[in-house]
Symmetry: none
Subunit: 205 residues, 4 copies
DNA sequence: TATGAATGAGAATTCATTCAT
DNA sequence: TATGAATGAATTCTCATTCAT
C-alpha cells in the first residue's frame, strides 16, 4: 500500500513541520526576529539544529513565511468577521470579538505581527508595513461603506482606520500583558467596541 | 604651549558627542536596537569605531540613555501641552500639535520611541514598556479629569488612554512614511484632533 | 539512518575535546594566560575558532579548569609519592622522582603551573596562589613530621617548605630549557635530592 | 644664563621621567606586562597619555628598559654584597640582607623581576631568562669559590645555585604577601640564611 | 612640553549555516 | 529523515599609538 505509507509519512512530516513552525512563532513572537536564534527555536521544538534546515531553507525565509501566513490569517479572520454582518456596529463588534478570540487562543500570533518584524532586515520591514497597510485598508473600506450609509459622521476615513488599527493593537498588547486577562475578556471586548464606535463617530440611530 | 583645555576644545568635544548621539538616534530609529551595529553608527557619524567607545561606554548604555532622554522629552512636551490648557478639547489640540511638531522636526525621536526598543534584551523591553505605561497614564489622567468635568462620556478611561496612545502613534507612523507629508501637516493635525475627540467621547457643549 | 549518537561519535568527540585541551595547555604553558589567544589555541589544535566555543564556554573558564586539573594532578602525585614512603629521605626521593617524571612526560603541565597564571585577572592570581599555598603546605607537613622524628635539624619548617618548593621549580625550569635534558634526568634527580636533603637539614643517621 | 636654564629644564624633565618610570614599575609589578595598560601607567603617574609617548617610544621598549635597569640594579647589589665579604657564610648573610632590604624598600622592584615579564612577547621572555641566568651564575660563582675553599660540601654547584635563587625568591614572595611582614623581617632574614647555608652544604668549622 | 581626542588593528565571542554520518 | 559537530563571517569591545593644538 504505497499510497497509505506515503500518506502516513507525509502526515508525520507535516505534523513535525507544523510543530516546528508553531515553536518558531512562539520564539519569534517573544524575542523578535533578531534576538530569536535558530537554537532557541529548535530547543523549543525539541529537535536538533540540523532538523531545522531539513524543513526550512533558513531563518529569514521561515520568518517571512510565518509572518505572511499569520498576517493572512489575521486579515482573513477580520475580513470574515466584517463580512458576516451588515451594519457597521455589528461589523465592529464581530471584528473585535474575533481579534480578542485570536489573542486569547493564539497570543503568539498577535505578538508576532506586532513586534516580530520590527527593526530588522529590509525585506522584513517591507513585509511588516505591507501587512499594516492591508489591515488599515480593510478598516478603511469598512468605514467608507459606513460613511456612505450615513452610519458614521463625515471624516477622513483613512486616518480613522489608522487610528483604529493602532488603538486596538495597543489595547490588545496591554490586555495580553495583564496577569488576570482571562477574567477581563468580556469587559475588554465591550470597552474596545465602545472605543471603536466612538472613534469612528458612530451615529446612534 | 600646554594644550588649551577648557576653551573651545571642550565645546568641540561636546559638539561631537552631540553629533554622534544624533547619528546614533537616527540609526537606532531606523533599524532598531539589534539590527543597528556600532559600525552603522560610526559610519553615520563618519568617525572611527574607537571614537564611539571614547564617548560612550557601550552600545546598550548609549541606547538606554538615548531612549530615556527621548522618552523624557516626549513625556514632558506632552505634559506641558496638556497643562497649558484647561478644557479637554484644548488640551487634546495642544498635545496633538506638539506631537506633530516633534515628528516633523525630529522624526528620529518619534521612531526611536516606537521601534527602537522592540525585541529582546530584557532591560530594553522593560524600558520600552515603562515609557508606554507613562504615556498611557498621562492620557488616562487627562481623560479622568475630563470625565469629572463631564466633558466626555462615561467610559473606561484606561482603555481609552491605551487606544488614544496607540491610535496617534499609528497615524504618526503613516504620516512620517508619506512622501508629501510636509504639505499635509495641518490636515493631519485636524484629523488627529477629530479622531481624539471622537474616541474620547467628547461632549460638544 | 538517524545518526548513531552514543556510539563512536561520542568517543570521537571526547577524543577531540581532549586533543583541544592538550593543545590549550601547550599554548597556555608557553605564552601565559594573556598572551595566549583563542586563535593560537585553535591553530595549535587545527580547528576553526567556532569549534573552540562548541567545546568550551570561554577562554577563562577553560584556563581555570586546566589549571585546577593540572594542579590537582600535581599535588596528588606529590602526596602519593610522599605517602608511599616512611622515612624523610625516602619521601624526598620519591617526590623528586615523581616530579621529574611528570616534567619529562608532560613538560607543559609543569610550565602551565609555573607561568600560566601569572599576571592579572584576579581570579587567576587567586587560583595560582592557592596552588602555591597547597604545594608549600604539603612540604611543610612532611618537614614537620621529619622534625618530630628528629630526622632533620630544628628550623622554621614553613620557610624551608617555601624554599624547597621554589628551589625545585627553578631547577626544573632550567632542566626543561636544556637541549640535552633527556640524558641528564638521572643526574638531575640525584642533584635535586641532595639539594633537598641539605636544605632540609637532614641528619644522616 | 642659558646653561642654568637648560640645566633646570633638564632636571625637571628628568624628575618627571623618573616619576613616570617609577609609576610604570609599580603597575608592571602588580599586573604583569600584558594586563598593565599604558592608561594604567599614566593614571598612576597622574599625567596625560600623550605625555607617556613624549618620554618613551612605546610600552614594550619602556618595559624592556625598566626590566633591564631593575635587573642590573639587583645583580649589582647582590654582587656588591657578595664581594664585600670573604667567607661564604658572610657572603650569604650579606646577600640575603641586601635582598630583603630591597624587597622592603622597593617591593615593586622585586615583583617586577619575578612576575613582570612572564608569558609575553618573545623578546621579554628572552630578557627574563637572561636575568635568571645571570642571577644563577652569580650564585654559582660564589658557590664554586666556597667549594674550592672547602667551605661547602662537594656538589653540583650549578644546581645548587638554581635551587638557591628559586628558593629565596619563593620565600620572598611569601614574605611580601604577608600582612605583618614588617615585624618579621629579622626572623625572615635569619631563616633565609639558615636555609641558604643548609642548602649549600655549609661546613661549620 | 603637554594634552587628550581620534584611530584602527586585533581580541573574544556569537550564531546562521553546512555536511558527514 | 535526523543529528549535532564543525565552520567562519560578523559583532562588540579594548588598547597601543598618533597628531593637531
Amino acid at each position: 500500500m504505497p499510497y497509505r505509507s506515503t500518506e502516513n509519512t507525509r502526515r508525520k512530516k507535516d505534523a513535525k513541520r507544523t510543530a516546528m513552525m508553531q515553536a518558531a512563532v512562539r520564539v519569534f513572537a517573544q524575542k523578535g526576529y533578531h534576538a530569536a536564534t535558530v537554537r532557541d527555536i529548535v530547543a523549543e521544538a525539541d529537535v536538533a539544529i540540523g532538523t531545522f534546515y531539513f524543513y526550512f531553507p533558513d531563518k529569514e525565509t521561515l520568518f517571512n513565511h510565518l509572518f505572511e501566513e499569520t498576517a493572512t490569517f489575521m486579515l482573513q479572520t477580520l475580513e470574515q468577521a466584517l463580512n458576516s454582518r451588515t451594519t457597521f456596529a455589528a461589523k465592529l463588534e464581530a471584528a473585535v470579538q474575533a481579534y480578542v478570540n485570536i489573542a486569547f487562543y493564539e497570543p503568539a500570533v498577535v505578538q508576532l505581527l506586532l513586534i516580530g518584524g520590527v527593526g530588522s532586515v529590509p525585506a522584513l520591514v517591507e513585509r511588516r508595513s505591507g501587512y499594516r497597510e492591508k489591515l488599515i485598508r480593510t478598516w478603511q473600506r469598512t468605514l467608507a461603506t459606513a460613511l456612505e450609509h450615513q452610519e458614521i459622521m463625515p471624516q477622513n476615513v483613512r486616518r480613522t482606520a489608522e487610528g483604529l488599527a493602532g488603538g486596538f493593537d495597543e489595547i490588545m498588547l496591554n490586555l495580553l500583558s495583564l496577569p488576570g486577562k482571562e477574567h477581563e475578556g468580556q469587559e475588554a471586548i465591550s470597552d474596545m467596541i465602545q472605543f471603536g464606535l466612538r472613534a469612528s463617530g458612530y451615529i446612534y440611530a
